[in-house]
Amino acid sequence: MPDELLSRSFAIRGRDFERAGEASTEIKSLLKELEIDPAVIRRTVVIAFEAEMNIVMYADEGTVTFVLTDEDIGVEVADRGPGIPDLDLALQEGWSTATDEMREMGFGFGMGLPNIRRNSDQFSVKSQVGEGTVVSSRISLDGAP
C-alpha cells in the first residue's frame, strides 16, 4: 500500500438537503489547491457528490472519507441506513427508488451508483439490508479510467 499523504472525513446527515454537497465542494477546493490534474478532480468530485447525495437521500447518517496517496485518491462512503437489497439492480443506470420530492429537486434519476462506478478505477460496494452500505472508490492520479 502506498503511503497516506492526507485524509479528511466528513460527517453527513440524512435528509439534510440544506447542507448537501458541502463535503464534495470542500474536497474539490482541496484538490484544486493541491493542483491535482483537472480530469482527476472532476471524477473524484462526481464520485464524492453522488455518494454524499445517496446518504442525504436514503440514509440516516454517514461519513465520506477522502484519502490521498502518492498514487491515487480513495473515496470511501459508509452509511447507517436501509441498505440495498439488490445490488445488481441498483447498479443499473436509471434504476431508482427516489421519491417524487427528490426528483423535483433534480436527484434520484438512477445514475448515482452507476456514475460512481463509471468514474472509478477501482470500485466496490457492500451492503447489509437494515444496517447500511459501504461504497469504496479509487481514482488513480496518473491516468484515464
Binding site: 499523504l5 492526507l6 454537497g21 465542494t25 474539490k28 482541496l30 484544486k32 489547491e33 493541491l34 493542483e35 483537472p38 478532480i41 472532476r42 457528490f49 490521498l68 502518492d70 492520479l141
Partner: protein, 432 residues
C-alpha cells in the same frame, strides 16, 4: 519554466506601498513587501485592475507605438470594432479608415469578414461540441488567462479556437504578399486595440505557439489623426469615400458584449461582463449550478471591450453610438457574404496547441504540495481572518500559503507582531 510577459511594469520609486493594487487584484498576484508592490508573474492575467487602482502612477502600461513598426515595408491596420464607436457620430467608419491611413498605416484590413468567419466557426464548434457545458468564448485574452490560472477545470470548455484577429493576420499577410510581391515577414499586421491584454495575447499567446500578428497600437494613438482627417474632409466639403469596413451590422456587434447571439439562436446563452461578475458565474459553473446554460460570452471589462483601458470615449456613449450606427446598416452585405463564402472552407480555426491550465512556478511535487496545504491550514488557524492586508498579502489565506511556501512569516501579521506594526508606522508616518 516559462517566463510570463505582462503588459504592465511597476515603477518602484513611485510606489508608496498603499495596498490599493494588491486589494484590486482578482487572482491575488500582488504582494507588498518592504513598502513596494510586486507581481507574481505566473498568477497575473493581465486584466489591468491594478493599473486602474493605482493612484500614484506607479503601474505603467507598456504600449507599442506605430513608429516601432517602421522596419516593416507595409503596415496593415486591423481595426477593433470598438474603434468605430469612439468618435462623434459625424465621423463615419469610412472617415475613420482614412484617418488610420493618415496616422501612418499603409492599408486598413476589411476585418468584418474575419469576424463573420469567426462567428460562423464558433456556431459550428458549438454545434459539434459533446463535452462539458457551458462553452466559453476565447475572444477576451483576460478571460482565457483567468480560466487557465483560477479555473483550470474549465479550460476544455473554452472554445479551442484562434480568435478572428489571428485569422485576419494570417490572411492579410497572404493577401498583401501576393498583391505586392513582398515576403510576408515584411508585412506588419497590427491590431488597433481597445486594451492592453490584446498586446500580451500577441507577444505571448495563452496556448503557447506564435501569433500571426506583429503587435498592437492603442486607440488613443490613432485618435487625433482620425479627428484631424475628419476635419480636413469636412472643410474641403468633399464626398465621403466609399466604406471599405463596417459595411454591415455583424461587425459592429463585436464591439458589444453580445456579439454572438445572432449565430447561437437556439442556444441557452448568457452574456457576462466585468471580472467580479465573471468570477461569480465561473464559481457557479464549478459548483455545477449552470448545467442548463450552453454558452457564456464573457469579457473582463465591465460592459465589454468598449470599456477597455485603451479606449477614449465613455463606454455607455460608445455603446449608444454603435447602436445608432448599426441601425443605419444592413443586416448583411453582399461583399462580406461573398468573401466569407469563398474563405470559409479554407480557414482552420482550431488551435494547434489547445489551451491548458497554467502551471504554477515552484509548486513542488505532490508531497511538497501536501506539506504546504497542511502547513497553511495550521498557520491560518493562528491568523485573525480579517483580511486587512497589512501583512502585505491580500488575505489571511494568501499569507498562510506564502508562509507554507517559505515566502513570508506569520509575524508579518500586525496582530501577531508588534514589530511589524512599528515598521508600518515608520513607513506610513501619517498612521502613527
Amino acid at each position: 519554466m516559462i517566463e510570463y510577459a505582462h503588459g504592465f511594469r511597476m515603477n518602484e520609486e513611485a510606489c508608496d506601498g498603499c495596498l490599493a493594487c494588491m486589494r484590486a487584484c482578482p487572482t491575488c498576484a500582488i504582494r507588498v513587501k518592504h513598502d513596494k508592490a510586486s507581481v507574481q508573474a505566473d498568477l497575473c492575467i493581465d486584466c489591468g485592475s491594478c493599473l486602474k487602482a493605482c493612484t500614484r502612477g506607479a503601474i505603467i502600461a507598456t504600449t507599442q507605438k506605430l513608429e516601432e513598426f517602421a522596419h516593416f515595408a507595409f503596415k496593415v491596420a486591423i481595426p477593433s470594432p470598438v474603434l468605430f464607436g469612439q468618435f462623434p457620430l459625424e465621423v463615419p467608419p469610412e472617415i475613420i479608415t482614412r484617418g488610420l491611413l493618415a496616422a501612418g498605416f499603409d492599408a486598413v484590413w476589411d476585418y468584418g469578414v474575419d469576424l463573420e468567419l469567426g462567428a460562423r466557426a464558433i456556431a459550428d464548434y458549438a454545434e459539434r461540441w459533446r463535452g462539458a457545458r457551458p462553452l466559453v468564448n476565447m475572444t477576451c485574452p483576460v478571460i482565457v488567462r483567468l480560466i487557465q490560472v483560477s479555473y483550470p477545470r474549465m479550460t476544455e470548455q473554452l472554445l479551442q479556437m484562434e480568435p478572428p484577429r489571428e485569422i485576419a493576420g494570417r490572411e492579410l499577410k497572404r493577401h498583401y504578399s501576393r498583391e505586392l510581391g513582398l515576403p510576408s515577414e515584411q508585412i506588419a499586421a497590427i491590431y488597433v486595440s481597445p486594451c492592453q491584454a490584446r498586446t500580451i495575447s500577441i507577444v505571448q499567446p495563452a496556448e503557447g505557439g506564435k501569433s500571426s500578428l506583429d503587435g498592437t497600437v492603442g486607440i488613443p494613438q490613432v485618435y487625433n489623426a482620425v479627428l484631424a482627417e475628419a476635419r480636413r474632409v469636412g472643410e474641403s466639403g468633399g464626398q465621403s469615400p466609399e466604406a471599405t469596413v463596417a459595411r454591415s451590422r455583424p461587425m459592429l456587434r463585436w464591439a458589444t458584449p453580445r456579439a454572438l447571439p445572432y449565430v447561437l439562436r437556439h442556444y441557452r446563452y448568457i452574456s457576462v461582463t466585468g471580472l467580479p461578475n465573471v468570477t461569480r458565474v465561473f464559481d457557479d459553473v464549478e459548483r455545477g449550478k449552470l448545467k442548463d446554460i450552453d454558452f457564456i460570452e464573457c469579457y473582463a471589462c465591465w460592459a465589454g471591450c468598449g470599456n477597455g483601458n485603451l479606449t477614449v470615449d465613455n463606454v455607455y456613449v460608445c455603446q449608444a453610438k454603435l447602436q445608432t450606427l448599426m441601425a443605419g446598416l444592413p443586416a448583411s452585405d453582399p461583399v462580406t457574404d461573398a468573401e466569407v463564402a469563398r474563405r470559409y472552407p479554407h480557414v482552420d480555426f482550431l488551435l494547434e496547441h489547445p489551451f491548458a491550465p497554467r502551471v504554477r512556478a515552484n509548486a513542488g511535487d505532490l508531497r511538497e504540495r501536501v506539506r504546504r496545504v497542511k502547513e497553511a491550514e495550521t498557520v491560518l488557524h493562528s491568523l485573525p481572518g480579517y483580511d486587512c492586508g497589512l501583512c502585505g498579502a491580500p488575505t489571511c489565506v494568501t499569507l498562510a500559503h506564502d508562509v507554507a511556501a517559505g515566502e513570508a512569516a506569520p509575524t508579518d501579521c500586525v496582530l501577531l507582531s508588534r514589530q511589524r506594526l512599528q515598521e508600518l508606522r515608520r513607513i506610513h508616518p501619517r498612521s502613527a
